[in-house]
């Protein structure tokens, strides 16, 4: 049984930049349905509007065309309750220690102090930072700071987690390990995960379905299903299908990427 959680119909985004190229048609039209609890990844050439798509779903940027719905309600202008985002950039608050950073996610929440505390402890435990609760972000590595941001999102218990290239700035080994953690958190929380990435193998390793975007204006030109078991980790890269799926993604993407660097047909 599948339940649609996010629905995009004919969604597009055009920016009035005020100087050429203007208007800039960045995105769309995109039609997409995310099912509750699925792991959906999006890959695409750089500058294709991946992040714009994520911001439109999040309610951070209003779509200029079409309709976006989250749990049956139209998203208009501001992020609705139930969505958490982890950005590529470091979004930790440098003046707060790790525990306070994570607790910041519950700032608007009406939970009691005890419940907040236990949620923070639980989230810190999930991302493996319990021993660093009183450290400040400046004392942590880039990967650890991203885990702080993930924990800050988890305490809100979002039903949809949007990840905007959260591991883009990390080294390959850390990225693989973070991927394992995201898979574990995805299973444990039951949330829907929508991941933007430029790494094809990362998309293949993590997602149930992978959307391939075209060059600007970004449209979905292919959606690949991986059919991985729900209980999986980074060792899935050894699966015989892994290479085939990644190859299919690259085949579709190669031509599109060429367009963006202006050498179509090479």
């Amino acid at each position: 049984m599948t339940v649609a959680q996010v629905t995009l119909e004919n969604v597009g985004k055009t920016f009035q930049t005020g100087r050429p190229p203007s208007p800039l048609h960045a995105l769309g039209p995109v039609d997409l349905t995310l099912e509750r609890g699925e792991f959906f990844a999006v890959v695409g050439p750089s500058g294709c509007g991946k992040s714009t798509l994520l911001e439109v779903i999040a309610g951070l940027t209003p779509a200029t065309e079409g309709r976006v719905e989250f749990e049956g309600r139209a998203i208009a202008g501001e992020p609705p309750d139930g969505i958490g985002i982890v950005f590529q950039e470091d979004a930790t608050l440098p003046w707060l220690n790790v525990a306070d950073n994570v607790a910041f996610g519950l700032r608007r929440s009406s939970l009691g102090a005890g419940e907040k505390k236990s949620r923070v402890a639980n989230a810190l435990n999930l991302v493996g930072l319990s021993d660093f609760a009183t450290s400040y972000p400046a004392q942590l590595s880039g990967g650890m700071r991203q885990r702080v941001c993930i924990a800050r999102t988890l305490v809100m218990e979002p039903r949809l987690i949007l990840l905007d290239e959260p591991f883009g700035a990390l080294d390959q080994q850390t990225r693989l390990l973070m991927g394992d953690e995201v898979l574990r958190l995805w299973r444990q929380t039951g949330a829907t995960v929508f991941l933007i990435t430029h790494a094809l193998d990362e998309a293949t390793m993590l997602a149930d379905r992978i959307g391939v975007m075209s060059a600007r204006p970004g449209r979905l030109i292919d959606v690949v299903e991986t059919h991985w078991p729900r209980d999986r980790d980074s060792r899935i890269v050894e699966h015989p299908e892994f290479g085939a799926i990644t190859a299919r993604l690259w085949k579709t993407l190669r031509e599109e990427s060429m367009k963006t660097i202006g050498r179509a047909g090479v």
């Binding site: 999040a58 951070l60 501001e78 992020p79 309750d81 969505i83 958490g84 985002i85 950005f87 950039e89 470091d90 979004a91 608050l93 440098p94 003046w95 910041f104 996610g105 700032r107 608007r108 400040y136 972000p137 400046a138 004392q139 809100m156």
Partner: protein, 251 residues
């Protein structure tokens, strides 16, 4: 490894004091010009113990504090508002840039005419000197708040006021603190400077009064008091700043 720089610093000051002491005691500097430092210290001690300057000290301290708090509050609020209103900011930016070319003290007689020879003109001079430094540094700090933080605030569904208080201002704090430090110094300069020019009391007035009466036993201890007070306050602020920056890994 941390060199004991503060020790060297202390040594420099101590050497200067000793040189001055020697020059005074040997008569190179005569008594009518300057007292020996140890006499300044003695007179300052007596002044504080007898409390004969307490009124002046209290007046200057109160006015400086009011002046500083006004400049800080108005400066931060104005900075936050201007940061949200692009057109207003673009209009005012060039005025801020040239503001410190204006000798603010020139307005003092005018302020006395309007407000009378009470505390208000002195407080206003200190305020006018400091407020723009706070505005400019607040704007600078707010400009440097990463966009990812404002996006985070929106995802967490914080109100505008909560976003400013819990996220934007703390993020900009190191820059705002630079403005605050300047506002403290300007409040001192504005208040004591105005007291010098024309007033009915305060440390600046007493120094000026002592000067015209060749009263070195009052003038020099008061100067020493001002130096000690401003260095101490600045030192405390710097200490706080270092802790703040250290925690953020900026030092």
């Amino acid at each position: 490894m941390r060199r004991p720089l503060w020790l060297y610093r202390l040594a420099v000051v101590a050497t200067l004091v000793v040189v001055l002491e020697v020059l005074c005691l040997t008569g190179v500097i005569d008594k009518i010009t300057m007292q020996a430092p140890h006499l300044m210290a003695r007179d300052l001690y007596r002044m504080l113990v007898t409390g004969r300057m307490n009124g002046a000290i209290a007046k200057t301290a109160t006015n400086t504090l009011i002046s500083f708090v006004l400049a800080m509050t108005a400066g931060i609020l104005t900075g936050v508002v201007l940061h949200r209103h692009r057109m207003m900011r673009d209009t005012l930016d060039p005025l801020f840039a040239t503001y410190y070319a204006v000798p603010i003290f020139a307005f003092y007689p005018f302020l006395i005419v309007v407000f009378g020879l009470g505390d208000t003109p002195q407080i206003l001079i200190g305020f006018m000197l400091g407020v723009v430094a706070v505005i400019v540094n607040t704007l600078n700090g707010l400009d440097r708040v990463p966009t990812v933080l404002s996006k985070t605030a929106r995802v967490l569904r914080l109100s505008h006021a909560d976003t400013a208080l819990s996220m934007t201002l703390p993020a900009a704090a190191p820059y705002i603190l630079t403005g605050i430090k300047l506002a403290v110094a300007y409040a001192f300069i504005g208040v004591i400077g105005s007291e010098f020019i024309m007033s009915r009391g305060g440390i600046g007035y007493e120094i000026s009064f002592a000067y015209t009466n060749f009263d070195n036993a009052t003038m020099y201890p008061l100067i020493v008091l001002i130096v000690i007070a401003s260095v101490a306050i600045n030192g405390l602020l710097s200490l706080w700043e270092r802790r703040l920056l250290g925690r953020r890994g900026l030092q």
